[in-house]
């Protein structure tokens, strides 16, 4: 037995050596962009004002939501300065205050932060601030801040109370729907438009009509159906069972049926994304999306840690890649990330995974390589292809929308649901 144990150890060691060789080859093969190549690439800057959240939703992926630290204004300044002085920002830059509940911090904090951004921003860059909030802390003072023309608001709400309160609870296990609705009422009173992110769990799949009716009454500008993902510290999704894929298709079919027959005054992001993709003149030729292109998205943690690719990777420690914070704005800065071995290894795998998606998946024109965070959480590596996230949010949705288009475009006349509407892009 001792001999066998030793053999097993040797085998493990051999495997490690092989994977080490693979890693070194991958690092050598990776072609990280140089600083000049990053000019104008950044479209989304995620700033984590605090990792803390006043709720404790059971599907949350954030590992440190009890941590009450806040991003110092020096860190905001350093991050923004490096972005603008380095010429990283695209002409349209979205700054998302998220990765914790942003409205935990007082209005004065954001007034100072907005001032810093305004002072540092380069000429010709159009900036929009986005808040994704659970809405429980919205009051008149916060509404005054959210009314600014350069601010967009997203509210996380999972439908009527009996669905919402299944998962979105306080630390003591109490439901939060009533408090969210009070926040939404405040937004309405102040005339602030908002979009909604609704997390779809297994329990929601049987209630497409109730959800649709709820959002018709709520009157958001857009509804975004996020699936309950396997991500971060949330290792198991209620949608992971094979039968739920069929149920999810039926759910989307029903939502789209309602949307087609009586178009409501809001967009459904999933439908809009497919239509937008089809209408894009470069459809079928693009090879990356924001998440698998380095520095198209930059995430800065409350302590100044820097990450790129999917925002959910910030503050993740992974057994294969180590820490996915590739640098710090206070130590070396954004451009030092380019020389970081962990970044180069991650980049090599993200690029390899995207290339394999491109070679093997007929839906590539729509998703352009998927989300690295989901590949990592579900399959343990960036060098991977199909995930549950892909099957639900891309394949199922694209199939359902294409089927509806195929049917509706056979008749003369233009279906009302295809008409262009205002298109918020912050879901």
């Amino acid at each position: 037995l001792a001999e066998l144990a030793r053999l097993a150890q040797l085998a493990e060691l051999a495997q490690l050596v092989a994977s080490r060789a693979e890693i070194m080859t991958a690092i050598a093969a990776a072609s990280p962009p140089d600083a000049a190549g990053l000019r104008g690439r950044l479209r989304l800057l995620v700033l984590q004002p605090t990792p803390f959240c006043n709720l404790s939703c059971d599907y949350c992926y954030l590992p440190q939501r009890d941590d009450r630290r806040r991003m110092s204004l020096d860190t905001v300044d350093a991050a923004v300065q490096q972005v603008f002085d380095g010429g990283l920002a695209a002409a349209q830059l979205s700054i998302v205050w998220h990765a914790g509940e942003p409205l935990v911090l007082p209005v004065s904090y954001y007034q100072d932060a907005f001032e810093i951004v305004q002072r540092r921003k380069s000429a010709g860059v159009d900036i929009t601030h986005h808040f994704q909030t659970n809405a429980t802390l919205i009051d008149d003072a916060r509404c005054a801040m959210l009314r600014r023309p350069d601010v967009r608001v997203g509210v996380s709400i999972d439908g009527p109370a009996w669905l919402h309160d299944l998962h979105r609870r306080t630390r003591h296990g109490a439901g939060t729907h009533a408090r969210v609705m009070r926040g939404v009422d405040k937004l309405r009173q102040h005339g602030i438009p908002f979009h909604v992110i609704c997390v779809v769990t297994e329990a929601s799949l049987h209630h497409a009509d109730e959800l649709f009716d709820f959002f018709v009454d709520l009157q958001p500008a857009a509804v975004c159906f996020n699936v309950e993902e396997v991500e971060g510290i949330h290792g198991r999704s209620s949608l992971a069972a094979p039968r739920t894929e069929v149920l999810f298709r039926k759910f989307i079919e029903r939502v789209l049926e309602r949307y087609r027959h009586d178009p409501p005054p809001f967009l459904i992001r999933e439908v809009d994304d497919v239509l937008r993709g089809l209408r894009d003149p470069s459809f079928g030729t693009m090879t990356t999306n924001g998440q698998n292109e380095p520095f198209a998205i930059l995430s800065v943690g409350s302590d100044g840690a820097i990450s790129t690719f999917s925002p959910e990777l910030l503050s993740i420690e992974h057994r294969r890649y180590g820490s996915l914070s590739f640098g710090n704005v206070h130590a070396g800065g954004v451009f030092d990330v380019l020389g970081d071995d962990r970044f180069r290894r991650a980049l090599a795998d993200v690029e390899a995974g995207t290339a394999r998606c491109r070679a093997s998946c007929e839906y590539f024109a729509f998703c352009r390589g998927g989300a690295p965070a989901n590949k990592l959480a579900e399959l343990g590596t960036f060098d991977a292809t199909e995930t549950m996230f892909c099957r639900l949010t891309q394949k199922a949705v694209v199939d359902v929308v294409l089927t509806a288009l195929d049917r509706d475009l056979q008749h003369a006349g233009r279906p009302a649901w295809l008409s262009a509407r205002a298109q918020p892009r912050n879901g």
């Binding site: 288009l405 195929d406 295809l418």
Partner: protein, 97 residues
Amino acid sequence: VVSWTGTLMASRRLRKALAAVALFVGTGPLFGIPPERRPIEAVDDIRERLLRSDSLSTPAPDRSLEGPFAQRPNWRNFWPNWPNWRDWRNWPNWRNW
């Protein structure tokens, strides 16, 4: 014997019926029944129809409002565009030019 023949006949009819169904289904495309295709396989066709529908639904620009003299007859190309010059109602109304 009667029972056995009956069963056999019934069985033959059944077989014939089954053969007819198989023939119909197998040659379905000839009768105008297309085989079911996955929507993603038709993406190029659907996209083309969507773009065509988009372009048809875009209203043509109203050129009557372009330029200060748009509402008036243009004397430089007046005659070729004025086929029925004998009808006085087609003459420009000089009182409200």
